[in-house]
């Protein structure tokens, strides 16, 4: 019996890739409210609802694959999933390896979060420990602009960088406004957002393999539809309490 089960599993392993109607979406699962694993143990968040809505409109059967942020682009190219929806900003560097759909969240400024009683001279930052999530636009920006006279610390997830801020191991964290704002508001004064708002990146889009032009066209057409009828703005309003961005244009 055991041998039979093993043989069946091996057969399943050799089965050909899934049919065109099925789509696997890759996400990080650790970047609330964009995408996270909820108390029920399943992926949830703005991008999960949006992705499911797109799949429904396009007639795809979609499943979510949780993948670490560090390897999320290589594993898209390698074929572990067909699209990335993980709060990924559209940048020139990323466009060298993958394609993006049009943006489904407008360019989001990056902000600094720090302890509620801290104060810094943002005109001349020096000797400050700045936390970022590795392989993000903020990590690249901090490395280019602050590394000379400050210490940059890169973390695997955004939550780990904020945890180290709470523990006093870094002085401030640089990340997306949409990610840090709810943290500061829920902290009851323990954290605050201060300093300049920095605009890096060009909005958040769906990451796709360069060869998948048809898939990209469908994503773009569906996003056009959802922008026009206001359903995208409704989702953004629900998860971020901002907007509308798209339906009035």
């Amino acid at each position: 019996m055991l041998r039979l089960t093993a043989a069946a599993a091996l057969l399943a392993a050799f089965a050909l890739p899934t049919a065109a109607q099925e789509l696997r979406l890759g996400t990080e699962g650790a970047y609330a409210p964009w995408n996270f694993i909820n108390d029920a143990g399943v992926v949830d968040g703005f991008e999960i609802e949006l992705g499911n809505a797109i799949c429904e409109r396009a007639g795809w059967t979609c499943t979510w694959v949780v993948n670490e942020w560090d390897s999320i682009i290589p594993n898209l190219v390698g074929g572990n999933y067909d699209a990335i929806m993980a709060g990924m900003s559209i940048t020139e560097e990323r466009m060298l390896t993958i394609d993006f759909s049009q943006d489904y969240y407008p360019p989001d400024p990056s902000v600094f979060i720090m302890a509620g009683d801290a104060s810094f001279d943002f005109g001349a930052l020096s000797g400050v420990r700045i936390g970022v999530q590795g392989a993000t636009i903020q990590a690249a920006y901090a490395e280019a602009n602050f590394a000379a006279s400050n210490t940059i610390l890169a973390y695997e997830t955004g939550d780990q960088s904020v945890a180290d801020l709470a523990a006093g191991n870094v002085d401030m964290v640089l990340a997306d406004n949409g990610y840090l704002r709810p943290i500061a508001e829920a902290s009851g004064g323990a954290f605050k957002i201060e300093g300049p708002e920095i605009l890096i990146g060009g909005g958040v889009g769906v990451g796709l393999r360069k060869a998948d032009d048809e898939l990209e066209a469908t994503f773009n057409a569906t996003l056009d539809e959802m922008k026009a009828d206001g359903s995208l703005d409704a989702l953004i309003g629900k998860w971020f309490q901002v907007g509308p961005f798209y339906s009035q244009m």
Partner: protein, 278 residues
């Protein structure tokens, strides 16, 4: 949760109980099945490879003997984490290589230089089941090499007189091998095998390296700090608490294993004359 239970426990305790029984935690508890399966199936494979390896090391044919020595020598020398990463990946890409030979046209291969796999048809998607099976096979291969050495030594420890006596009674070669030699070998092999089992059990904590959502990965996810009200209870870094639960689980497994091996040793020692036979 029923009302009477909430009333009985009070707000603090019932809140805690609700927290550790939410869906996230239930998935964590469910993930223990991967670890237990990997341990048991891995041990079964290890025993199989161990017997094969020991047979090869004891073989009369020179090339077979060298093959056995090569297997135990190389696999015991490579760090288990490395082998654990290497074997499933090598297996997957090896299969993809043969798929590509059959499925991909020459034009497709030429159009995608340096891209793996060279065409979408040759791409394998491995999920938890496949990786779990490969993990068991890897564990079997790694610890089979250790088991082979243990069994090889145990086979030599059986007194030659026992085998000679069996042959003198007119037993056939296979009767001598299985009825006398292998049967008496266990009492010498069990202390070593119990050691191998303990190390194998510890290696089951590596499953998350193969993208299996195992107990270690879930402990990491659950213990990770959370500052987002949308994502559930807000808490700082709690990972040590979750790792502590895993410590206790592994210690319990060790404790249970010792009892099982004690019983096995009693069975193996029946009727066998050994100096330290309990």
């Amino acid at each position: 949760m029923p009302d009477w239970l909430t009333a009985l426990l009070g707000p603090d305790l019932s809140g805690g109980l609700a927290y550790i029984t939410n869906g996230k935690h239930l998935q964590w508890y469910g993930a223990f099945r991967f670890t237990i399966l990997a341990g048991l199936l891995g041990a079964l494979f290890a025993l199989g490879f161990g017997l094969l390896g020991a047979a090869a090391k004891n073989a009369r044919l020179w090339p077979l003997r060298q093959l056995g020595n090569l297997y135990t020598g190389i696999v015991r020398g490579v760090p288990d984490v490395l082998f654990f990463l290497f074997f499933p990946l090598a297996f997957e890409q090896g299969v993809e290589y043969f798929l590509a030979l059959g499925q991909c046209s020459a034009e497709e291969v030429a159009a995608n230089p340096g891209v793996w796999p060279p065409c979408p048809d040759a791409n394998l998607f491995f999920g938890t089941t496949e990786y779990l099976l490969l993990a068991c096979l890897s564990l079997g291969l790694i610890y089979g090499a250790f088991a082979a050495n243990v069994i090889h030594g145990a086979l030599r420890a059986v007194p030659a007189g026992q085998l000679e006596a069996a042959r003198a009674f007119g037993l056939s070669a296979s009767q001598v091998l299985w009825g006398i030699h292998v049967r008496q070998m266990w009492i010498y092999a069990l202390p070593g095998l119990s050691n191998v089992w303990m190390i194998l059990i510890k290696a089951t904590s590596l499953l998350s390296l193969l993208q299996i959502a195992d107990i270690v990965l879930w402990a990491d996810r659950l213990g990770s700090p959370n500052f987002q009200p949308a994502a559930g209870v807000i808490h700082p870094d709690w990972r040590w608490r979750y790792y502590l639960v895993l410590f206790i689980f592994y210690i319990l497994v060790t404790f249970l294993s010792e009892r099982v091996f004690r019983a096995l040793t009693r069975w193996a020692g029946k009727g066998v004359i050994v100096a330290d036979n309990p």
